[in-house]
Amino acid sequence: MPAKAKEFAAAKPFPFPDYAAGAGVAIRGLTHSYADLQTIDGIDLDAPAYSALGLVGPSGCGKSTLLELISGLQDPVRGEIAIGDSTDAPGRLDHCAFMPQRDLLLPWLSAIDNAALALRNRGVRRGPARLEAGELFERFGLVGFERAKPTELSGGMRQRVAFLRTLVAGKPVMALDEPFASLDAITRAEMQQWLAGALEADPRTVVLVTHDVEEALYLCDRVAVLSARPARVVEELSAPVPRAADRDEAVTDPEFVAVREQALQALHEGMR
């Protein structure tokens, strides 16, 4: 476990479920259908504790469903998903925080109260909860925006607050559903670099769904390319390491470009 994570865990005055231990995600023989429509067809995947797993696939292939299954918002029709020792849906829900595609910040709450939602839900009083979330605002470059209402924030800022809200939940696993899909290209690149930095400072197990191969390879350790519905794993790729700290440098690295080509090819294969 990275030193910073240990420090963070130790500093928490309230109980975090299994946080100190970290937890990996293991998926075995996962098959799912919605009504008569089969959406997922026999997926096996692993995301060891503190690693980041990217899921790339054509739109409508069931990526988001897969994320909901992992998060414990649904139970699969067949197969098993384990987060740490928990295989049942409520157990997974305990270990997993979900960041939806749209930021879904509650417009009646300030940025800091939005970020502190999980703490408030766990019964932490408003004062301590704000203090707790405020620390993260400092660490992640959002100082001065604590009291801003979501409508006063830019798209990138809103997404940062939404990510902090997920982070503050203190769950060992974070399920991110196309977190930057709604942003323009420049902001997205900026946010990707920001997220990479945030995860380095505060490591968690991440499952990231995206349709952007570059984003997946830049942010994740391993990337699984999924086929069109019903989703199965076409190919699993390892992101090239070490990556340059600067995003532009990282994504133009010849090795990175080569893996990206490979991923794109797999993506095309899976569409057939």
């Binding site: 979900f98 009646w108 979501p150 939940a169």
Partner: protein, 250 residues
């Protein structure tokens, strides 16, 4: 500024036109009526001034019926709206009944209420509450159902319990809807109060209007109607003011 100035200008223009049409007798001639049957705004104001004590005494009675009846309807509407939220079957079962309750003219109900609750404030409160209840209940139920399902998932992964989901997400989401329903209810309330008084009352603006109608005392009748409209406007304005204070995110 425009919010106040424009309605005030329109009102002044209408009152002015009315004054001219009534005082010159143009309106009475046009409708082929005796000119005393169509009082001018000045005459109405005079009637309000000379009968001030009587009119305001009755207005006070009606105002209480409107306010307390509205509050009763608000509580009932919110209660039913919230109750229907978690029980989809109950909602499906109760919705047609609620609609049916609104389809029966309140004038049919009111006499029975007088038989049941007597001549006091009771039946008036019941009638006012009944007319206010429906828009509020429907708005509350619809508001609670308008919550983004993705937001519910998000809250669940942030460890929200069912009650927390209700208070932190669903209730605030429904607030603008509730205010819309309440504002519609507020405009219905004076009508309910007048109907309630028409079937049996010893005081109130509705009672006064009935008397003045029989006496052909049209200027005082119009004065009473004006006060009723003012009450509805004030209640509506008050709700709009609270709404702007509370619902700051719209």
């Amino acid at each position: 500024m425009r919010r106040w100035l424009l309605p005030a200008l329109l009102l002044a223009a209408l009152v002015g036109a009315w004054q001219v049409a009534a005082s010159t007798g143009v309106l009475a001639d046009l409708l082929n009526l005796e000119s005393f049957l169509i009082p001018s705004p000045v005459e109405i104001a005079e009637a309000l001034w000379t009968n001030g004590a009587l009119v305001f005494e009755n207005a006070w009675v009606t105002l209480r019926e409107i306010v307390f009846g509205f509050l009763l309807g608000l509580v009932l509407g919110l209660g039913v709206g919230f109750l229907l939220r978690p029980f989809e079957t109950l909602r499906l079962a109760a919705y047609p009944l609620m609609v049916a309750s609104q389809a029966i003219p309140i004038l049919v109900f009111a006499p029975i209420l007088v038989v049941w609750f007597g001549y006091g404030i009771g039946p008036k409160l019941a009638v006012v509450a009944l007319v206010c209840f429906f828009p509020i209940a429907v708005a509350t139920a619809d508001g609670l159902r308008s919550v983004d399902p993705e937001a519910i998932k998000m809250m669940r992964t942030l460890d929200a319990s069912r009650t927390q989901l209700l208070w932190r997400l669903e209730a605030p989401t429904s607030l603008p809807f509730v205010f819309s329903g309440a504002k519609i209810g507020a405009t219905f309330a004076p009508i309910g109060a007048v109907f309630g008084e028409w079937v049996g009352a010893e005081s109130g603006l509705g009672h006064l209007i009935l008397q003045d109608n029989a006496l052909l005392n049209t200027s005082r009748l119009f004065a009473a109607a004006f006060l009723l409209a003012a009450m509805a406007l004030c209640l509506y304005g008050l709700l709009a003011l609270i709404e702007r204070r509370v619902v700051t995110w719209r």
